[in-house]
């Protein structure tokens, strides 16, 4: 009798494919989380519209790929570009008027953006079931008896690579150092001659591009549905909360954990239907742990 069988769980074989999907989704959660954390620390804004932006980008890609004769890669680029442009525009337009307010107000404001996008998506594309094709999903390879497609590889790789790039960027470039300085103390940094607006704009733009890419991947891994994609931000949020909204490396790990746990619950039939509660459960545990130690959210690391 194997251990899983003793616990009434399906055997190891059944879990294996879910490890793959879990890691792939985890990669996207991780990269989304990293994007959100860097933006939050640089500007004080926790962008809750992250998912909505990516979702709309994915819809635009779908529209371009299925209803025009333009080559597919233009659609993908449009998705990523849309993410960057919309997020940057929001940041430039609504960042300054809310700059002095607290983090909660700024986050609630992004919900305004989320609603606008949700309404627009629902209006233009309605609720029909759609899927977004990526060429990388059609080919793959086998690992340990499980099929892995290239989109999943990209998702995992994207997560890891972006995190490493971000950590290096924050530590070794001027803009990155400026972002860390802003995270530590906005007022002093502004007086040091750091071009605050430009640094913030970079943060907005890059996190927007990431949200576009994340939307593209998720639309393919999960499905092209406005509400689902928008609220997948909750899983990325859980990762950022576990990392206390400050550690980029921890966000990466947390993203993968959220993705993995979520997926691994699937074959456990007794609780499978509740697997989407995973982000909530994990984030609550993390918050309970943090509040016990009464730690304050620290600067960007």
């Amino acid at each position: 009798m194997t251990v899983p069988a003793l616990l009434g769980l399906p055997s190891w074989e059944f879990f294996k494919p879910f490890i793959v999907t879990g890691l792939a989704l985890g990669g996207v959660y991780a990269v989304s989380g990293v994007g959100m954390v860097v933006l939050y620390q640089t500007t004080g804004v926790l962008n809750l519209a992250f998912g909505a932006v990516g979702a709309m980008g994915a819809f635009i890609a779908w529209e371009l790929n299925n209803n025009t004769s333009l080559p597919d890669w233009i659609g993908y680029l449009a998705c990523i570009g849309f993410g960057g442009v919309v997020t940057l525009l929001y940041g430039v337009a609504f960042g300054p008027p809310l700059a002095g307010r607290d983090a909660l107000t700024k986050a609630v404001a992004t919900l305004g953006l989320a609603l606008i996008l949700l309404g627009a998506m629902s209006w233009i594309w309605t609720d029909k079931a759609r899927s977004l094709d990526l060429p990388t999903t059609n080919s793959g390879f086998e690992v340990g008896g499980v099929m892995v497609n290239w989109t999943q590889v990209i998702a995992v790789g994207f997560g890891v690579v972006m995190t490493v790039v971000t950590i290096v960027f924050l530590r070794h470039t001027r803009t990155g150092t400026a972002m860390r300085a802003l995270a530590d103390d906005r007022e002093i940094t502004a007086t040091l001659g750091v071009p605050v607006r430009r640094v913030e704009a970079s943060a907005w733009l890059v996190s927007g591009l990431v949200s576009g890419a994340a939307g593209l991947l998720l639309a393919n891994l999960v499905g092209l549905d406005a509400a689902t994609l928008t609220f997948l931000v909750i899983s990325a949020l859980a990762a950022t909360l576990i990392a206390r909204l400050s550690s980029v490396a921890l966000t990466l790990a947390a993203g993968f954990i959220v993705g993995l746990v979520n997926a691994m619950v699937t074959p456990i039939l007794s609780i499978s239907q509740y697997r989407d509660m995973t982000p909530f459960v994990l984030a609550t545990i993390a918050l309970l742990w943090v509040s016990r130690k009464d730690i304050r959210v620290t600067g960007l690391r």
Binding site: A103, L104, W123, F231
Partner: protein, 342 residues
């Protein structure tokens, strides 16, 4: 307690409005619009809870619609499984919601308002997931009380005195008035003063001896309580509950409506109820897509946060007052001219 003139006029207006609402309005409306008005009243109570949290204590909850769904579930289950009188059913729905709201608030309160908002958003996600699976009671067997067979075709019971749509509307309005009364009593009491202190400055509240965590939890419990009761009212109103009535986006739309209606006055809750339930019905009536409303609410959030943080309920009377002032100026000038003339 004697009231001064403005307060007496205010009270008089409210009483007159309520009398009209309860006695005259139902006979003037078709069944569909009686239904809509009932929803407006129910969601005004939900908005009251969120407005209390945001305007008086400075807390944001992104899970109130989920709690509404929970309250509805509890009420539905109780009406099928027991023959408890309706007021008891409502109270139990409210109590369970209060317990959940407090439990969720506990870990997050000591961290910051942002964390509380996020954890309530996740709670909304969690409850939605659970309710999607367990679905709502409809007369079936077992703890969950749901069945897919035709056995589940009985509507949720209503109180004996209020089984008609009009009767239920009056019953709902009465309960809603009670909820507003409970909130008003709180605001005039020790809790209300403590909340005002917390909202202004946590440091000075602490220096005044206010146990901030306890009073924040109390506000959360109260808001969840009245939302749970609203859920019970909703269950009886619609007769059949489905998870699509409680989407996650609903939590955000509620937040938008409460912000736009105004979080610093009780009228704001009424305005929010109208925004959430009357506007969609009107749009539907005029053949416009409901997505327009979603976009409008999104714009509303941004507008309120950037320009008019007090919301329509304060802004509108103020605008109207300014308008009235402008309109009356020509008459004042004439008056002055007449007085000056020999």
């Amino acid at each position: 307690m004697s009231l001064d003139r403005p307060a007496r006029i205010h009270a008089g207006v409210i009483v007159a409005l309520l009398a009209f609402l309860v006695l005259a309005l139902p006979s003037m409306l078709s069944a569909y619009w009686v239904d809509v008005t009932t929803s407006v009243v129910i969601y005004a109570v939900v908005a009251l809870g969120l407005g209390l949290l945001m305007g008086r204590v400075g807390l944001v909850s992104l899970g109130q619609i989920a709690i509404l769904g929970l309250g509805a579930w509890v009420a539905a289950r109780l009406t099928y499984a027991t023959s408890l009188p309706y007021p008891i059913v409502l109270l139990l729905a409210g109590a369970m919601s209060a317990v959940l709201g407090t439990l969720v608030g506990l870990p997050a309160l000591r961290l910051s308002g942002l964390f509380l908002a996020l954890i309530t958003l996740m709670l909304a996600g969690a409850i939605t997931v659970v309710l999607t699976t367990t679905q709502f009671p409809n007369g079936g067997p077992g703890f969950l009380g749901h069945t897919d067979s035709s056995l589940g075709s009985n509507a949720i019971r209503r109180p004996a005195v209020a089984s008609s749509d009009t009767g239920y509307f009056r019953y709902t309005t009465l309960v809603a008035v009670l909820m507003f009364g409970v909130v008003v009593l709180h605001l005039r009491s020790k809790a209300g003063r403590a909340w005002a202190a917390i909202r202004q400055s946590e440091a000075s509240a602490l220096a005044a001896g206010v146990n901030i965590t306890r009073y924040k939890l109390w506000a959360l419990a109260l808001a969840s309580f009245i939302t749970g009761i609203a859920g019970g009212l909703l269950a009886g109103s619609v007769g059949k509950l489905y998870i699509v009535q409680f989407p996650i986006s609903g939590n955000i739309l509620l937040l938008a409506a409460v912000l736009m209606g105004g979080i610093y006055t009780l009228w704001g809750a009424v305005a929010a109820g109208l925004l959430i339930k009357l506007l969609p019905a009107l749009l539907d009536n005029w053949g416009l897509p409901p997505d327009l409303l979603t976009i409008l609410f999104g714009v509303g959030i941004l507008q309120v946060l950037i320009t008019a943080p007090e919301g329509i309920a304060v802004q509108l009377p103020r605008d109207l007052g300014r308008l009235a002032g402008l309109l009356s100026r020509p008459f004042q000038r004439n008056q002055a001219a007449r007085e000056e003339a020999p």
